[in-house]
Symmetry: C2
Subunit: 199 residues, 2 copies
Amino acid sequence: MNFLEERIMKDGVVKEGNVLKVDSFLNHQMDIHLLNEMGAEFKRRFADKQINKILTIEASGIGIACIAAQHFDVPVVFAKKSQSINLDGDMYVAEVESFTHKCKNHVIVAQKFLSPEDHVLLIDDFLANGCALQGLIQIVQSAGATVEGIGIAVEKGFQSGGRMIRNLGFQLESLAIVDGMDAATGEITFREQPQWDAK
Amino acid sequence: MNFLEERIMKDGVVKEGNVLKVDSFLNHQMDIHLLNEMGAEFKRRFADKQINKILTIEASGIGIACIAAQHFDVPVVFAKKSQSINLDGDMYVAEVESFTHKCKNHVIVAQKFLSPEDHVLLIDDFLANGCALQGLIQIVQSAGATVEGIGIAVEKGFQSGGRMIRNLGFQLESLAIVDGMDAATGEITFREQPQWDAK
């Protein structure tokens, strides 16, 4: 097990309905040391990529992205989920459906922050059915920019998002892939990751 | 002028209706080097305070809070703005009215992340009429925890939030206080800050 899988085993909580709560260290309270380890690991996994910008989506991706950005020495852009009166000018907009909130959102990035010269790493905390991520990919491609890779903290491997993204040829690196959870026993099954053996 | 005021002069844009856009470096695209300078400055201004937790509010406070947290070596908790199905258990809830979005939000923090032992630094990107901040203060006090200080990037000094918070006796440190803006000329007037002279 890697450091994130160990932390999930220690502090994660499995709830009915395939909900994995990691709110004590990842997406409500955030352990900055853990985020820093994650940032270093993303840098290791994308060491051969020329990345000049990190793109994430509000809200829980922002902390992970900002700490990771220190390892890449690049700025972070976070996509917004709904129209704001402070967001004027030309915008890229993608409509996505949220698994967690069971509603549709518009994912929005101001056009001035993405251009064809950009080589983008996408970062988010969770990947389940991948709707938010699809919105981010759509936006990067609308800008004529390049998705160099995708870094996820926790992927729900039993949902289709990860497989679909990998089938499209993207380098998707999820630090922990949960292949199964049992709310009755609290058991969590992680997918073995060959990348970690190569360390 | 300090580093943040200089950056606002260089890259901030004044819009009609007393809107100051800092989205190219602070709250849509984020310059991580700038955030790091801000974190160091917050640490300097709150050097005599025993802080064990930073509390912020989604979304644009999160990046600033996470980078600042590295200077304090503490975890970050971010308050959520609406009920989420992943947020179960007992919660502190405060109702606040947003100046920017002209709507009411519930500010929510899970009770397990704030206790009477906590000495909290509140961090946010903007302070105008202070509604979000009032919600955060209410939540910290509901938990029996202590507000050790408040760190803000940009305060709109011509609105009442900052004065009210200081009148209540809180140590409020805004790295840039805008006392006036002119959308026609783009001119921005900053309040002089004695703290900076003491450097």
